[in-house]
Symmetry: C2
Subunit: 193 residues, 2 copies
DNA sequence: CTAGTTGTGTATCGATCGGTATGAAACTAG
DNA sequence: CTAGTTTCATACCGATCGATACACAACTAG
């Protein structure tokens, strides 16, 4: 059972290009023609390597979470609750206002792909978001330094809400500096003293 | 110069139906077929009455701001800064988690219509958002009770960021009760004492 | 070399996209 | 009644959508 003709493209590099297009144009706003052009891959090769548009998006989303969005999981390893929140909020600003990346968050973006043919992609994004928020809640539940009177679930949800808002602001044109001010104020109010 | 055949539909009611579809499915996720079906209007009649898809969306967005989203402008008339923020944040929860309306915010939704053919709709939504945030900043600038040490622009941006985040959370399935808890905590931290 | 396997390139599939041409229907003015 | 005006309804436009059929190219095993 021999191997046939070798691939003319690097699947990982092609997936990175696909991620960039989805990130910039959204799931619904991205066509197969956009993808093949950006990836430098012909249509049949794309389908053979990645399945269909939905599956390619799911793979790109995985790559996003493990790459540009990895700061979110890493933030949970910070020693204090304060530092966890700091790294999440400030990381959200940096992620969504990068000079060389599209503005906004692929995940937040994809939640709003709510057309009839986008249910699968949208649900993948929502599942991914839920997992992140659950992990944050768990982190707070086991934190000895959680401010008294705070419910871990509600606090996790509020932090997530703020990072979501930052992503929306970035997608609507706010600059990195403007959002750094917002993040700083949010941290001052969330974590007084 | 007489009047010809009378309209077989009510333009305002039809616009409300269009608004509901755009709200639920997003600009990119809504097709002309979806619109004509929901509005009960044939395609040529739709174009004659509302222009094209972009113009129909702009009219629906206006109706949204003046209807379901009117609480935002009305909140600015509250006597105190605290009350302004309260009404904005709590109003965002109610707006985006209505039992008889789509979950999420049409305006936040439309910011993420970033495909090649959606630039006009997206820019309309962004302009609308900017106007709202500017009005909020003005309200804070002229407030005698603004907490000292707060920049009106940054505070307005943070409040807007929180309401944006609430919209994202609602769009991704959070319930009204869950978001009411988030809103309450946000208000407690934003406005201590 | 030949047989078998896999990827590439072109050309195309039916469905749907946003947008219209066309003519009949329903009204008013005279 | 007729003439003029506006809307309605069908049927259709070219373009694009996501997804494939098919033949050829490039490789390995024997």
């Amino acid at each position: 059972m021999p191997g046939g003709r070798p691939r003319a493209f690097d699947p990982d590099a092609a997936l990175d290009r696909a991620l960039e297009v989805f990130w910039r144009q959204g799931y619904e706003g991205t066509s197969l023609a956009d993808l093949t052009a950006a990836m430098g891959v012909n249509r049949p090769s794309l389908y053979a390597a990645f399945g269909n548009k939905e599956e390619l998006f799911a793979k790109a989303l995985d790559r996003y979470v493990g790459g540009p969005g990895a700061f979110a999981a890493e933030a949970l390893t910070a020693p204090t609750v304060r530092e966890v929140i700091e790294r999440l909020v400030e990381g959200a600003v940096e992620l969504t206002t990068g000079a060389d990346t599209p503005h906004g968050c692929l995940n937040v973006n994809s939640v709003h792909a709510c057309g009839p043919g986008s249910a699968t992609a949208r649900e993948a994004a929502i599942a991914c978001r839920m997992a992140g928020e659950t992990a944050l809640r768990r982190r707070f539940e086991e934190a000895p330094d959680l401010p008294p009177g705070h419910d871990p679930g509600v606090l996790a949800r509020l932090v997530h809400t703020v990072t979501d808002g930052i992503a929306v602001q970035a997608a609507s044109g706010r600059t990195r500096e403007e959002l750094r001010e917002v993040a700083a104020l949010a941290l001052r109010t969330l974590l007084p003293a």
